[in-house]
Structures are given as structure tokens and as C-alpha cells.
Symmetry: C2
DNA sequence: AATAATACTTACCTCGAGGTAACTGGCGAA
DNA sequence: TTCGCCAGTTACCTCGAGGTAAGTATTATT
């Protein structure tokens, strides 16, 4: 009997791990927060806003956000084509929590970087 | 004149990207949340709590959290050695925001998974 | 003399997230 | 007839996060 089941982790880890699994990638959270700030955006607008994302990852990330129901995609069958992305209600409900984190980062990132520098010093000196 | 500077991204992206850079890895947030729940923990206790982390990544992650000043490390020079990890005030200040996210996940993850399944269906059918 | 216990460290390897660059389709403009 | 626009798609490649397994130091125990 190899009981490699039912004992993994008893904590609210579950939801945290879900969060990390789905939003721990490089672009999802950023895109959500941009759409939250500026509202509707077209593909190339997002591309320019972010600046250093590849077309491939922009489509991949948008598709997965769409699949999760966090972002809506509206295609206008014109030529050249126009596509508009926008947060859904679900996506919008996530925004405030992200912004809390961002706020925390703004307040504390300097301190963290200072700590890290000090720690690196200790290792050397 | 190649002006590849000063135009990257004008948004509060900055703090969000900082967050993702430092906490977007597989274990940091989880360890912070565990230490937040149970308080002081020894190395092997953490190892067992998490269940599926490797020793290597546990040390690596703890070191980086320590370097950032989010977690404190107390070594008791006994034999065999004893080490206790605990959140610092800075680490503790991050907790509520993480828990907000976790709460959001608990409420909405089911919906997200349902959306994803429906989306996959559409692709097939 | 061998084993156990703790908290690692080290060498080695895998795998997939993400990047790059070129191509697509349909139309209008030069 | 070739180019440009928009929103992708595709093939290919890199690189590093993270896993595995074995080794380290020290002492007490059997």
C-alpha cells in the first residue's frame, strides 16, 4: 500500500497555491491591472502599454484570462480587424486586492531592497 | 540616437512587477502564509507542513526571505542544530493582503475553473 | 563501528515558460 | 504589384527555476 494521498498539506495553502498556479506567471496580473486602470484596450494598445511583452505571450495570456472569464474579448469583423479587451465583473472583483498588494509594494519595496543589500554585504564582509 | 529609455511603462506597473519579481516564485508566499498562521517553525517542520517542497528550495526560499527582511532566522548552536524561522514585522505586514487574495480565490476559484472548462468545450465543440 | 538526528550544501539534470523572427489574411493606398 | 495595417500564429530556441540524490558536520546512542 503506497499511501501517497490525503496528507499533502492541511493548510489554507490550497487557495494560495491556486492563486500562484493561475496568476504567478509573468503577465496575467499586470494585464488585469492595466485593463482595470484604462478600461477597454485593443491588442496593440496593450502591447505598447506593457512595452516589453512579446506578441506571443500577450495572446497566450489574454487567451487564458479569457478562458478563466476574467477578461472579455470583442472582435469587430472589420478590415483591418479590431479587437477590444476588457475586464469582466469577475476580473474587476480581483482588482482591489491586487492594488492592495501594489500599494504595499510601493511602501515597502525600498526597505526590502535595502535589507537585501545589507544582507549581501554581511555575506561578503 | 537610439532612445530605448524612459518610455518603458508609465503605469503603476512598477510596483506590480516588483511584487511578481520577488513573490511570483513557487514557494515564498506559501511560506510567509504558513509562518503567519503557525508562528515560529523549524526547518523540518516547514518541510513537513508543505509536504512537496525539496530541501534545496526550502533553504533557497528561506534565505531570500531572510535577505529581504521578511523572515528571521534564529540558530541555536546545539547538537543536533536547531533553527527557528519566524515572520518579521515587515513580513507580518504583508500577511493580510495575501489572505485577501486567498479569500478571493476560495470564493471564485470554482467559478474560474467552470469558465475554463466551458471555454475548452467551446474550442472542441 | 555504524546509525541517527538536524539543517543544510553540492552536482547534476529536466522541463516548460517565455523570447525571437518570420509568416498569414484581407483590403486599401502608392 | 508591393507595402502597410492589425491581430494574431507557428517553429524554433534559450535559460533558469526547481527537482533529485548524495554528501557534510557534530555528537550521542547502540
Amino acid at each position: 500500500m503506497k499511501d501517497n494521498s490525503e496528507k499533502k498539506h492541511a493548510f489554507p495553502n490550497c487557495s494560495i497555491r491556486h492563486i500562484l498556479d493561475r496568476f504567478g506567471d509573468k503577465w496575467s496580473i499586470l494585464i488585469i491591472s492595466i485593463l482595470g486602470h484604462v478600461g477597454k484596450q485593443r491588442f496593440n494598445e496593450l502591447n505598447q502599454q506593457i512595452g516589453d511583452i512579446s506578441q506571443k505571450m500577450l495572446t497566450v495570456t489574454l487567451r487564458s484570462l479569457e478562458a478563466d472569464g476574467l477578461v472579455s474579448r470583442k472582435l469587430y469583423p472589420e478590415i483591418p480587424p479590431r479587437v477590444e479587451y476588457e475586464l469582466t465583473d469577475l476580473g474587476r472583483s480581483l482588482l482591489p486586492h491586487i492594488e492592495q498588494l501594489a500599494l504595499w509594494a510601493e511602501k515597502n519595496m525600498e526597505c526590502i531592497l535595502a535589507n537585501r543589500a545589507k544582507y549581501a554585504q554581511k555575506k561578503v564582509g
